[in-house]
C-alpha cells in the first residue's frame, strides 16, 4: 500500500539486518570437482550446494537463490552455455562463474555473451577459485546494493512529488471550501461566519505563500542560481536586525529576545543575505516553539578560528529520536504541542544547505520541555584572512 511519506525512521531499519550466510551453487558432472569445490568454498564460510547436471542445477538455482553459481560448460543434458543463459533468465542477480576443461577464447566470449561474469579454465588451484569467487561475490553485492538504492531513490522521488502536491493542495482546498460554503449559506448564516472565515482564508493563503517561497529558495540554493557576495560581516549587525523584526511576534508569544553578542567583535566571511536567512529561520523557530514567558538567547563564541553562534530557546525541546531527521526536507516533529504551529518543514534544511555552502556546520542540542540550542559554526573572518594572507605570501 502506498503512503505519502514514510517516517524516516521506518525506512532505515531494513539496511541494518545482519548479513545472511551467502549461498554458492556448484554445477558439474565431475564428482571430484564437486567435492573439491565444496571443500574449498565451505571453508570460506559459504553455504555450498552441488548438482551433477544442468536440469537439477537450474532447479537448485531457482530454489536456493544463490549469490553465485559455478557452472561447468561441458555436461550431459542441458549444455553449459544454455544453462548459463537460463540461470541468467530465472535469476539475473546470481553471478555465474564458468569453468571448463576446454578453454578457448571462443568459449570464454560465448559464456560472457550468455551472461556469465567470469571464466576459469580447468585445472585451477584452490587460490584461483577463491579469488574468482570473492571477486564474483563482490560484484554481486555491489549490483544488489545499486539496484536497491536506485529503487529507493525512485520511490522517494515519487513520494516526494505526491507529498509536495498534497502540501500545496491542502491550504487551497481549505480556502476553496470556505468560499464555496460561504456562497451556499443563506445570508444570515454567512454574515455570522464571513469575517472569521475570510481571516482564516487569508491565513491559509499566507501559509501557502510561505511554503512556495521556502520551496523556491531551497530549489534555488540547490540550483546555485542564488547570487552571493562574500564579504566580512559583523554578526551582531545581522542578529540585531533580525531580533528587531521579530520583537512584535515574540511579545505576542510572551517570549523575550536577547542577544549577548557584543558589537564589532565577531566577524565571519559570508553572504549577508544567506546569514540573514539562516538566523532568521533559527530565531523564528526559537520563538514559535517556545513556551509562554520563555526566552530566546543568541550568543557567540570564538574557538580555534571558528565562530560558534548559538540560538537557544526555553521551549518544548526535540525528542532525541527525531533529531537525526531534523534537517531533512519537509520533516516536522510530530507532537501535540506543535501540531497547530504553522511551518513548512523546510526552514532547517535551508539552513543546513546555506551553512555548509559557507563551509560551516550546524548542530542541535535539546532537552524535552527544557529547550533547544542550535549552533552554527562558521570560519572566523580573522582566521580566513590569515589563511588568505599565507597563501598570498607563499606564492
Amino acid at each position: 500500500m502506498d503512503t505519502y511519506l514514510t517516517q524516516p525512521g521506518q525506512e532505515k531499519s531494513r539496511t541494518s539486518e545482519p548479513a545472511e550466510q551467502e549461498t554458492i551453487v556448484v554445477i558439474d558432472d565431475d564428482y571430484a570437482m564437486r567435492l573439491s569445490c565444496r571443500k574449498i568454498l565451505s571453508k570460506m564460510g559459504f553455504r555450498v550446494e552441488t548438482f551433477e547436471d544442468g536440469g537439477q542445477g537450474l532447479e537448485g538455482v531457482t530454489k536456493l537463490k544463490p549469490s553465485l553459481a559455478v557452472v561447468d560448460l561441458k555436461m550431459p543434458g542441458i549444455s553449459g552455455m544454455e544453462l548459463v543463459t537460463r540461470i541468467h533468465e530465472v535469476r539475473p542477480e546470481t553471478v555465474v562463474v564458468v569453468i571448463t576443461g576446454y578453454p578457448t577464447v571462443d568459449t570464454a566470449v560465448g559464456a560472457m555473451k550468455c551472461g556469465a561474469y567470469d571464466f576459469l579454465p580447468k585445472p585451477f588451484s584452490p587460490d584461483e577459485l577463491r579469488l574468482i569467487v570473492n571477486r564474483g561475490l563482490e560484484h554481486h553485492r555491489l549490483s544488489v546494493e545499486m539496484q536497491r538504492s536506485e529503487m529507493e531513490r525512485a520511490l522517494l522521488k515519487r513520494r516526494f512529488i505526491t507529498f509536495v502536491s498534497h502540501q500545496l493542495q491542502t491550504p487551497l482546498v481549505a480556502v476553496h471550501q470556505y468560499l464555496d460554503v460561504l456562497k451556499q449559506l443563506d445570508s444570515m448564516e454567512s454574515a455570522a461566519k464571513r469575517q472569521e472565515w475570510l481571516d482564516r482564508c487569508l491565513k491559509r493563503t499566507e501559509e501557502l505563500q510561505a511554503l512556495i517561497k521556502d520551496w523556491l529558495s531551497l530549489a534555488r540554493i540547490e540550483g546555485e542560481s542564488f547570487s552571493r557576495q562574500w564579504v566580512k560581516v559583523d554578526l551582531q549587525g545581522v542578529i540585531a536586525e533580525i531580533l528587531k523584526t521579530y520583537e512584535e511576534m515574540a511579545a505576542a508569544n510572551g517570549v523575550c529576545l536577547e542577544s549577548r553578542i557584543p558589537d564589532d567583535t565577531y566577524f565571519v566571511v559570508g553572504d549577508r543575505n544567506c546569514l540573514s536567512v539562516i538566523f532568521d529561520n533559527l530565531i523564528v523557530n526559537a520563538i514559535k516553539y517556545n513556551k509562554p514567558n520563555g526566552k530566546v538567547t543568541v550568543s557567540a563564541d570564538a574557538l580555534g578560528g571558528e565562530v560558534a553562534i548559538a540560538v537557544a530557546d526555553t521551549g518544548v525541546g526535540i525528542p532525541e529520536k527525531y533529531r537525526p531527521f531534523l534537517f531533512e526536507e519537509f520533516f516536522r516533529v510530530e507532537r501535540d504541542e506543535t501540531r497547530k504551529t504553522p511551518g513548512t518543514g523546510l526552514g532547517l534544511s535551508i539552513c543546513r544547505k546555506l551553512v555548509s555552502e559557507m563551509g560551516g556546520s550546524i548542530s542541535v542540542d535539546s532537552e524535552v520541555n527544557v529547550g533547544s540550542t542550535f549552533r552554527v559554526r562558521l570560519l572566523e573572518y580573522r582566521a580566513r584572512a590569515e589563511e588568505e594572507e599565507k597563501k598570498g605570501s607563499s606564492r
Binding site: 502536491s165 482546498v173 464555496d180
Partner: protein
C-alpha cells in the same frame, strides 16, 4: 429522517472541518469532529455516528486507510461495520483506481469517494445515498 443524522468528520485540517460543519448543519445534519484517525475511532465507539466522512491523508500519512480498515475488518469495531464511509482526498482518483495491483485492496476500498475540495451538490447527494445505507435509518 435525514435531518437527525449524525455525521463524523475525521480530518486533520481544522478549516476544512469548520466549513463542512456549517454546511452540514445548515442542511440539518448533526456534526461530530475528530482531528486524527485515533480520535476518530474513539468517537465512532463513543458516539456511534450514522455516516463517516474520512480524510485519507492526515499528519503526512495515509491514516484514513487504517481507520477504514479498522472499522470494516477489526473485531473490536464489529458493531460499527455497517456505518457508510465517505473517503476524501485531494487526489482525483479513488484508492482502488490508484492501486489496481494492491493485494489488500478491500482494506482501502471506500464505500464512497470524493475529491477535495468537495463539490457541494455532489457531496450532499452522496450523503443522501449513504444515509439510505445506514443501518439505523432505513438501510437495515
Amino acid at each position: 429522517m435525514p435531518a437527525s443524522l449524525k455525521i463524523l468528520v475525521i480530518d486533520d485540517d481544522q478549516d476544512f472541518r469548520a466549513s463542512l460543519r456549517s454546511l452540514l448543519e445548515s442542511h440539518g445534519y448533526m456534526v461530530l469532529e475528530a482531528d486524527s484517525g485515533r480520535e476518530g475511532l474513539r468517537k465512532v465507539v463513543e458516539q456511534t455516528p450514522d455516516i463517516i466522512v474520512l480524510d485519507i491523508v492526515m499528519e503526512c500519512d495515509s491514516e484514513g486507510y487504517g481507520v477504514n480498515q479498522a472499522i470494516k475488518y477489526q473485531d473490536a469495531y464489529a458493531d460499527y461495520r455497517n456505518i457508510p464511509i465517505v473517503m476524501t482526498s485531494s487526489i482525483d482518483l479513488s484508492p482502488d483506481e490508484r492501486f489496481p495491483m494492491a493485494g489488500d485492496l478491500d482494506m482501502i476500498r471506500p464505500d464512497f469517494y470524493l475529491t477535495k475540495p468537495l463539490d457541494i451538490p455532489k457531496f450532499l447527494e452522496v450523503l443522501r445515498r449513504a444515509a439510505a445505507l445506514c443501518p439505523s435509518h432505513g438501510g437495515a
